[in-house]
């Protein structure tokens, strides 16, 4: 990942200047700004931590729990995407215990909906599929829940397949924070949580959707996809996000 360039800020005199901490990640000495997360600093240093709900350019949620790490001296686990670095922190991103938990969490996610890669529009271009390989998940030991989910193909250009949704909520965040339309939200809760547009209308009948397609580009799986593309062409381009954010900050100054 590219390190995020420090943004020019007006000098502040009312608080202490921004601190830089030194810490250890997997035994390596690294440094991070006080407002940077373990995930950011790890990636700056080429240390891999798996993520699913995280996406550069979107607000963090700390929800998928795949980025859990250990911090020496604490029995608890921490989500790297929402834990800020601290001086002398000793982070372990890869241990037998963490690997085991991550794989099990991924198995849970696979068991939740109907993830049939073989017939999925993003087969081969899917973050979930890739994670299974990266985390060494060869099979799911939990029962598949096989919920009766539906497909919403009412939008002229895009379609929504709830069978493939992992509830990372990237679509909701990009629509609210970047596009500013807030077309998406989530209905219900727990295992019944589901992505909805407006008042749970078919996407094609949404009054607020601008059709910008950002949600489709950030979706890690085949839940949101473009119509009329073949499986091989179905690549997602979420890279626009950090760029958009940078340009907006630029415009503010």
């Amino acid at each position: 990942m590219t390190p995020t360039a420090p943004i020019a800020q007006k000098p502040r005199t009312d608080v202490n200047p921004v601190r830089i901490y030194t810490l250890r990640i997997d035994g390596r000495d690294v440094s991070g700004r006080e407002d940077e997360t373990i995930l950011t600093v790890a990636r700056q240093n080429g240390i891999f931590i798996p993520t699913l709900c995280h996406l550069d350019g979107l607000a963090e949620r700390g929800a998928c729990r795949l980025c859990i790490v250990e911090i020496q001296g604490s029995p608890k686990l921490f989500a790297a995407c929402v834990t800020l670095v601290k001086q002398d922190m000793d982070v372990i991103t890869d241990s037998a215990r963490i690997r085991d938990y991550r794989r099990k969490i991924l198995e849970l996610i696979f068991s939740e909906r109907n993830h049939v890669c073989a017939v999925c529009v993003v087969n081969g271009n899917c973050e979930l599929q890739d994670l299974a390989v990266k985390l060494g998940m060869t099979h799911v030991r939990y029962d598949y829940l096989n919920p009766p989910q539906s497909v919403d193909a009412s939008h002229p250009r895009f379609s929504l397949d709830h069978n493939r949704c992992v509830l990372c909520l990237r679509c909701i965040r990009v629509c609210k924070d970047i596009e500013g339309a807030s077309t998406w939200d989530i209905s219900g809760r727990g295992i019944h949580a589901r992505i909805i547009s407006d008042l749970n209308q078919p996407w094609g009948e949404s009054e607020t959707c601008t059709g910008c397609g950002k949600c489709v580009q950030v979706c890690p799986t085949g839940a949101l996809s473009e119509k009329g593309k073949s499986v091989a062409e179905m690549t997602k381009r979420p890279q626009f996000l950090p760029y958009l954010q940078m340009m907006r900050k630029e415009a503010e100054i």
Partner: protein, 191 residues
């Protein structure tokens, strides 16, 4: 049920002329009391449900426009919280408590029988619109377990017989029976 001024566009929150519906005024008052702030959403939905018995889509749309909250968020909040219902309630409402004390004292069994008898599940209303069956997480009436709420009145120490009798009485009640406004209000409050 639906107010005549249904479906005001998002952009024109002023699109609510003096309507004859008193219930709509209650909702307006709640929003005004909170300065039409978006954080009044849950309070306003409470007011909607109290006035109308459920959250009707056009009313959600109305509230969204007035409070400047996205439609999707109104729907999200309305479905996240189990107190809210998007379906009109039946003439009578039977709430059975499924709290721990009630469970230990056998509500599960009563509940199974009632579902069987009415042919509906929790959260549903019988086809004739007579009876809605609900469950409560805990009424806080654990001392009287098993407990339930029948049209707004908490009843403790339930047995299968008392519940069945009560439901039977509702069912066989003549169609000319009209509940008073007070009954309805009471019921909504306690649901």
């Amino acid at each position: 049920m639906t107010p005549a001024t249904a479906s005001p566009a998002l952009s024109s929150p002023s699109l609510s002329p003096a309507t004859p519906d008193k219930r709509l005024r209650i909702i307006d008052r709640t929003m005004r009391l909170h300065g039409y702030a978006s954080h009044a959403l849950i309070e306003t939905l409470h007011a909607v449900q109290e006035a109308f018995g459920y959250l009707e889509p056009d009313l959600m749309r109305y509230v969204a426009g007035r409070l400047k909250v996205p439609l999707s968020r109104v729907y999200a909040v309305a479905t996240f919280y189990h107190f809210f219902t998007l379906k009109p309630p039946g003439e009578h409402t039977c709430v059975l408590c499924k709290g721990t004390a009630c469970y230990i004292s056998g509500t599960a069994e009563i509940f199974r029988k009632v579902e069987e008898m009415l042919g509906i599940h929790a959260g549903e209303t019988t086809a004739d619109g007579k009876i809605s069956l609900m469950t409560a997480r805990c009424l806080g009436a654990c001392g009287l377990a098993p407990a339930g709420v029948f049209d707004g009145t908490v009843v403790g120490n339930l047995t299968l017989d008392t519940v069945v009798n009560k439901l039977q009485a509702w069912r066989s009640h003549d169609a000319d029976h009209r509940e008073s406004a007070g009954d309805r209000e009471n019921r909504n409050r306690c649901r």
